[in-house]
């Protein structure tokens, strides 16, 4: 056996030793027998797959390079190299099987969780969206004003593959055209009629009707005059005449300050990621800076958030524990009732009873939100004869309704696992108990129940963790409402932590975005859920399975 062939994977395999050594011996003596060397269909398939992966990978790396996204560049390059190494080496046998899943896991789970941790310590959100350079650029653009006394330029709205642009006729009669991304450039071949460009090669002239349709886009469009932002840009308000706009703000890179040329006020950067004047006023656009534990402090002690946060935290626990307990008790009760082989039609009962489990959760929650509607819902109108009970709008009743709906959704699952556990109880222990003279109640309490709990405990923990984050149910059933009367933030009595995070993050575009605070709250949930499951799994010795 040649030593270079002994890989780290193979070395460890040798110790427990059963599958790899014979193969490696085969390889050394007959190299052509190796999978990688036999040009069978498997090898061709691998080559084709790797070619596709490489092509995509190179494309991603190249676009990352052109976009100056060096983080993405590094990660995609690393993944690409790893993939090629793993699949074209004879080493790393196990990695050949793990890598695809591992890649996705690293990027879309481990990275995002770590990134949540990072964002939690920044002020990322509305007004603090990007880097300082981006903030400066945005400030300059946003504060553009028409240059006093600048000439009005005849303007034509043009389009380049869906991207709007302007073609303007300068004072000297020369036509220039460009888009938001591309500064104005001379268009010598353009046709000019009545002092206005009517045809520009490379662009399509947009007709009047379309301009009306895309009015907002046209008035928002700014076409830079040149590569230098100081030169300003062309804008229009009527799609017929354009003016040169330049920013009233001026950024001085040397002193790192912004000066408002119209008022003369100088703004200097502060620790919160904003430009601040001497009188304390700040410019609207800031940038992302680390803020330490500020977000956590806000969550626990800020007047606006602390009270709702505590209420929501308590309710989240009540909801998660209550859900597990109620569904488990009902499921267990039904499992015991139907665990009698003499009962006819057991399968029919079982099939009909587990129907709620087979209905997607979001449909069930939406359906119940209609059934429980105060004025028109089936429950009030028909079952309660026209009563107007505010099932989803009264703070207490809404909580009760959430638990009740979750009971409907969740009991079939518990019924199934309890039935499974009951049926797999060892019959010899039961028999021994009977021979020892234990009564039915005694057997149940001392043997059945403990064994059942041991068997179902891991699933109960998973169920707790699931309900702790049961966003769909809460959001679809009550939307977190009814709102807290005293809070200025959009939170309500049935909000659980995850729906609170959702509201605060503003990712759905309905509120101001506060990614920092939202991530900090996510971290709190991670700690709670992770801590509880770790404790619980440790006590159920799940870790031992690894051996």
């Amino acid at each position: 056996m040649s030593s270079p062939q002994v890989t780290s994977a193979a070395t460890t395999a040798g110790s427990s030793g059963d599958d790899v050594p014979p193969r490696r011996r085969g390889r050394t003596s007959r190299p052509d027998a190796s999978h990688a060397r036999s040009y069978g269909p498997g090898f061709i398939a691998k080559l084709v797959l790797m070619a596709v992966v490489d092509a995509l990978g190179v494309y991603v790396v190249w676009s990352a390079w052109t976009q100056d996204s060096y983080g993405i560049l590094a990660v995609s390059l690393a993944l690409l190299v790893a993939a090629n190494w793993v699949y074209f080496t004879r080493r790393a046998l196990a990695l050949k099987y793990i890598l695809p899943g591992l890649g996705f896991l690293l990027v879309f789970q481990i990275f995002v969780v770590a990134y949540t941790g990072y964002v939690a310590f920044t002020n990322y959100g509305t007004g603090h969206n990007g880097t300082k350079d981006q903030a400066v650029e945005a400030l300059l653009v946003q504060n553009e004003r028409r240059v006093e006394g600048s000439p009005s330029l005849p303007l034509t709205v043009v389009e380049d593959g869906g991207t709007l642009g302007f073609a303007v006729v300068g004072e000297d009669g020369a036509v220039t055209a460009g888009t938001a991304e591309q500064p104005l450039s001379a268009q010598d071949d353009a046709t000019v009629q009545d002092g206005r460009a009517t045809e520009v090669p490379g662009y399509a002239v947009v007709d009047r009707e379309q301009i009306l349709e895309r009015q907002d886009e046209v008035t928002d469009l700014r076409v830079p005059v040149s590569d230098d932002p100081e030169d300003g840009s062309i804008r229009t308000t009527d799609a017929r005449t354009g003016y040169v706009y330049t920013s009233v703000l001026e950024y001085d890179a040397a002193s790192d300050t912004i000066t408002d040329t119209s008022t003369g006020v100088t703004y200097t950067p502060n620790d919160d990621g904003q430009f601040e004047a001497a009188d304390g006023s700040t410019l609207a656009v800031g940038w992302r800076v680390p803020v330490g534990f500020d977000n956590f402090v806000t969550a626990f002690s800020d007047g606006r958030y602390a009270q709702p946060f505590l209420k929501i935290l308590v309710w989240t626990f009540v909801f998660a524990i209550g859900s597990v307990v109620t569904t488990f008790l009902l499921g267990l009760f039904l499992a015991i009732v139907f665990n009698d082989t003499r009962l006819r039609g057991r399968r029919v009962y079982r099939t009909l009873m587990i129907l709620p489990y087979a209905v997607p959760g979001f449909l069930a929650a939406l359906l119940w939100s209609g059934l429980l509607n105060t004025r028109f819902g089936y429950v009030n109108q028909v079952l309660l004869g026209g009563a107007e009970i505010p099932w989803l709008t009264d703070p207490f009743l809404a909580k009760l309704s959430v638990l009740a709906v979750n009971l409907w959704l969740g009991f079939p699952y518990m019924f199934l696992i309890c039935t499974g556990a009951l049926q797999s109880l060892p019959s010899d222990v039961m028999e021994a108990a009977r021979i020892d003279g234990a009564g039915r109640w005694r057997t149940w309490r001392s043997i059945t129940l403990p064994l059942l709990l041991v068997a179902t405990a891991p699933l109960l923990i998973s169920s707790f963790a699931f309900n702790f984050n049961n966003f769909t149910l809460i959001y679809m059933l009550t939307g977190g409402g009814p709102r807290f009367a005293d809070a200025s933030v959009p939170l309500g009595h049935t909000d659980i932590l995850i729906s609170m995070v959702y509201s605060i993050s503003g990712v759905d575009g309905s509120a101001t975005k506060d990614f920092g605070l939202a991530s900090a709250l996510s971290i709190v949930i991670f700690v709670i859920v992770g801590g509880i499951s770790a404790l619980a799994f440790r006590s159920t010795r799940k870790f031992e399975e690894i051996n």
Binding site: F104, F338, N373, P458
Partner: protein
């Protein structure tokens, strides 16, 4: 319930003599005893079935009602018409349905492929980092991916600048995100099952000259088919109903999934859209319901596999 055990053993043994005895027992039972032993179970069963099924009956009735409002749906089966179903054709419903099926099928196929491969490696190879890898997976499992939705949003925002197809409002990006959560959730379930397949089988194949990939594709995967079915189904159902990430990632209406689209119907103008929603709900629940009932046996086995075997 004085003699529950003979009956149980009789049914289990399935021999003819004892089972005929139970039958005669049954016939001889006096009504009162029958009720205290079995009858009350039927009562409980009927109540439970009504509780479980009445919302479903209601949704079916509402979807068939001609009047598409919430109030108009309160008399069960007052009228039966396909108006609501026909009207679905004028909405984006079928686009959403197609989106949802594409996303859910792609996710569940990817999940099974990647999860099974990883489980095979962990179960059959002994390599450096195996123990750490398994422990890490167990820990990752405790941090649901969904909780990091803010970071997922920001990640896709950044990725979209580089590769638009992996950015926001792309179904492929959503599938990639779902696949990211696949390994953590399912590997353990599969790993346990893979361990129950005797290693002598792959060793025999290897002695006969099979490569590791031949063993995997032609021997192991066939033997673990039940767990593959379970994982595929659970992943399909989970993806089918996933809301929060789909809501964030898919911004334009033509890319929505059913969960996002139907939520929109109910949350806006709840009254007027009720008929449409119920018809959509019936149709979208059908594939899951059918799969579920068809594979019921496997699911029950799969659910308890993780726990009972310990």
């Amino acid at each position: 319930m004085a003699i529950p055990t003979p009956a149980t053993t009789a049914a289990a043994a399935g021999s003819s003599a004892p089972s005929s005895r139970t039958l005669t027992d049954h016939r001889r039972m006096r009504p009162r005893r029958w009720f205290t032993e079995l009858g009350w179970r039927h009562v409980v069963g009927v109540v439970a079935v009504v509780y479980a099924a009445f919302p479903l009956v209601y949704v079916l009735s509402a979807s068939l009602s001609e009047n598409g409002t919430l109030t108009g749906s309160n008399t069960l089966f007052a009228d039966v018409s396909g108006a609501n179903y026909a009207e679905l054709g004028t909405t984006m419903f079928w686009t959403w349905m197609a989106n949802t099926l594409v996303i859910a099928v792609a996710t569940s196929v990817g999940t099974v492929l990647m999860g099974a491969a990883a489980a095979y490696a962990f179960s059959r190879f002994r390599f450096a980092g195996r123990r750490i890898g398994l422990t890490a997976l167990l820990i990752v499992q405790m941090f649901p991916q969904m909780l990091a939705f803010v970071a997922i949003f920001l990640l896709l925002l950044g990725l979209g600048n580089v590769v638009p197809v992996l950015g926001l409002n792309s179904k492929i990006a959503l599938i990639a995100v779902y696949l990211g959560g696949a390994l953590g959730v399912n590997t353990f379930l599969m790993y346990g099952f893979f361990n129950t397949v005797p290693r002598e089988l792959d060793e025999a194949a290897k002695i006969d000259g099979a490569t590791h990939s031949q063993v995997y594709w032609t021997i192991i995967l066939r033997l673990v088919a039940p767990i593959l079915a379970v994982v595929a189904l659970l992943s399909f159902i989970a993806t089918f109903g996933e809301f929060i990430i789909a809501r964030i990632v898919l911004t334009s209406e033509s890319n929505w999934t059913l969960a996002v689209g139907l939520y929109g119907w109910v949350s806006s103008l709840r009254e007027a859209n009720w008929g449409l929603f119920t018809a959509g709900a019936v149709i979208s629940a059908l594939p899951v319901l059918a799969l579920f009932l068809y594979l019921q046996k496997y699911i029950v086995g799969g659910l308890t596999a993780g726990s009972v075997k310990g």
